[in-house]
Amino acid sequence: MSGTPIEKMSGRGVYVAGNDIDTDRIIPARYLTCVTFDELGPALFYDVRFNEDGSSKDHILDDPRHAGAEILISDDNFGCGSSREHAPQAILRFGLKAVIADSFAEIFHGNCTTLGVPCVVMAFEERKELAELVGADPTLDIIIDLEHLQVICANKVFKISVKDSVREAFLNATYDPLDTLLAGRDAIDAVAARLGYSAIP
């Protein structure tokens, strides 16, 4: 297996407001000139967090009350735009380990899953309430329970949804699918042979 099962996780939250937050905003293109993802953490949301002279814009991610937060909360269509895996990589390397939002763009969602970062969908009203709770008291612990499809915070239970196959993958530790894919080598070669796909001229 490629990782450890992810059934439950917990941590403090931080709410980054906004619909349609695109991957260009999550990680500006100039940080994509890299041949490994190792250094991306500090560049997360860079242009939203810092002025051009490097001074802080006092973004919520830099609010000391939220220091050490591990669960990112946002609004609708999070992670739209470019397919850059640099975006989830930056989120992960910044120290965040899950995202809760109203909805996610697909490629971003897939990239996060492979990295073991759950993208958890919560209905608008509940998600709003969760964001307000966390905003009022940043020390609150958020528990994400993928097995029972719920989030618990301040003794309240919030319903969540996660695609079946993704939930399976987290519970079975197959969210990084590479080993599973490689195990099908003979079947792969059979499909290639059937389709006449050995090489393109």
Partner: protein
């Protein structure tokens, strides 16, 4: 009951169902570039894995390559390193690399089709969201992340959930001066930037049927801007004629056999869809964006939205976008001053785009305060343009004619906006900071609309500027 193209191509390429319920899908064509792929080779090496089908992956450089001079080593050390890693990795793994000055380099989504690598019925992927472009040929074409690039390199397969299919029929006839770009901006405006999440879009109807391959590519290119992972057009005579004689397409009898096979992939007349939307071509005008998502668009005849007329979240979204763009609600978009004009990108950087613009800017001049650049999508496009002498038309009008690359579509090469400059752009994204300045402002539009804006120095209606009265497809 018949099947649609998506289902046929999917069924044909499924290897097996996985324990998670996902499917393992064989990938017919894998394209890679210097930004999202070098890291994948590192991941392979960490796991001591080899590339499974090196002859089904092709590499090019596009995002970071400068468009003024491509002499190596590049001035930007990191950019140079990324090209070098891609070049070394492809050589080590037996993958063909279309290097600068090879005659085949260009934007990955321009290169695949023009070489004939992109063929009907294929599953195609690339670590780039605009891979949806290739769907114009009747393919399932998916943008993927770097870990998935690794998966495809190592196994030539992906783990995928099947998508639903929405047929979007654009029926009727486009008015003069309305282009494929306006069609897709209109569609995204109507269905929303996340309206396509979970769907593949099948574009159909008489307007799409009558489009050239390059126009269909423009439409499919921006599927992802509507939230759809992929978009496609059923292959037809236009598709086959485009592919006939291309470098990587079989010739002679083999071509005829291929066409027969390709025809079989088209959606059956009684195919089922999960959803259907019909759009009247008559409703489509030259369309421009005014905000910070491609869905924030209006026709050139309309006024900007008025935040006072809506409530709640919608109101905040409009206010924020107008503030960022330094625009006032309820005013016309027409007449907005521009600083930069950009024609190029994988949306509109093909020969027909430059031909359309050249035919209208001949004998005219770009406004004095406008910095105008035209950037071919590939070395082949550049060569064709030069053969026809069109680059001269651009230069005489006051455009700079550049070398091929992504250029000002995104901020990974020296072509960038400065400060809060406004750019009339033929590219596909108007996100905050997309064109290289954190305060830069992008207005998306068709190439002829960019040309009109460049000449007038402000957002203008190309139909008025260029007297479009005849039939313009």
């Amino acid at each position: 009951m018949g099947k649609n193209l998506y289902q046929k191509v999917w069924d044909n390429h499924v290897v097996q169902q996985l324990d998670t319920g996902q499917y393992q899908l064989f990938i017919a064509l894998h394209l890679i570039h210097e930004v999202t792929s070098p890291q994948a080779f590192g991941m392979l090496e960490d796991k001591k894995l080899k590339v499974a089908y090196p002859k089904r992956t092709f590499a090019t450089v596009d995002h970071i390559i400068p468009t003024d001079s491509q002499v190596r080593p590049l001035a930007d050390d990191m950019a140079e390193k990324m090209i070098q890693v891609l070049s070394d990795s492809t050589r080590a793994h037996g993958i063909e690399f279309f290097a600068p000055a090879s005659g085949a380099q260009g934007i990955v989504h321009v290169v695949g089709p023009e070489l004939g690598l992109t063929q009907p019925g294929m599953t195609i992927c690339c670590g780039d969201s605009h891979t949806s472009t290739h769907g114009a040929f009747g393919c399932i074409s998916l943008g993927i992340g770097t870990s998935q690039v690794r998966d495809v390199l190592a196994s030539q397969t992906l783990a995928m959930d099947p998508l639903k299919v929405r047929r979007i029929r654009v029926e009727g006839q486009l008015q003069p001066g309305v282009t494929a770009k306006d069609v897709i901006l209109h569609i995204i405006h109507i269905l929303g930037v996340n309206g396509g999440v979970g769907f593949a879009y099948e574009y159909a109807g008489s307007v799409i049927d009558n489009m050239s391959m390059e126009e269909r590519m423009t439409v499919c290119n921006m599927s992802i801007e509507g939230g759809a992972r992929c978009g496609y057009v059923n292959p037809d005579a236009t598709t086959y004629e485009y592919l006939r004689g291309r470098e990587r397409v079989p010739g002679g009898d083999q071509f005829d056999q291929a066409v027969e096979r390709w025809q079989g992939y088209a959606s059956d007349f009684d195919a089922q869809y999960d959803d259907e939307v019909v759009i009247d071509a008559n409703d489509i005008r030259p369309t421009v964006t005014w905000g910070v998502t491609p869905g924030q668009a209006i026709s050139i005849e309309e006024n900007l939205p008025d935040p006072d007329k809506v409530d709640g979240l919608e109101r905040n979204l409009i206010t924020d976008a107008l503030d960022y763009m330094q625009l006032t609600g309820n005013q016309p978009i027409k007449g907005t001053k521009i600083d930069v004009a950009f024609i190029g990108s994988c949306t509109n950087g093909r020969l027909s785009d430059f031909q359309a613009v050249a035919s209208v800017i001949k004998g005219r001049k770009v406004a004095l305060h406008v910095r105008a650049i035209a950037v071919p999508g590939s070395e082949k496009v550049d060569k064709e343009v030069r053969k026809l002498g069109l680059h001269k038309v651009f230069e005489e009008a006051g455009f700079e004619w550049r070398l091929p690359g992504c250029s000002m579509c995104l901020a990974m090469n020296p072509d960038k906006l400065i400060g809060d400059e406004v750019c009339a752009s033929s590219s596909n994204r108007n996100f905050i900071g997309r064109q290289g300045s954190p305060t830069g402002r992008t207005i998306l539009m068709s190439p002829v609309m960019v040309a009109a804006a460049a000449i007038e120095g402000q957002v203008a209606d190309a139909r008025e500027v260029f007297n479009f009265t005849g039939e313009v497809a």
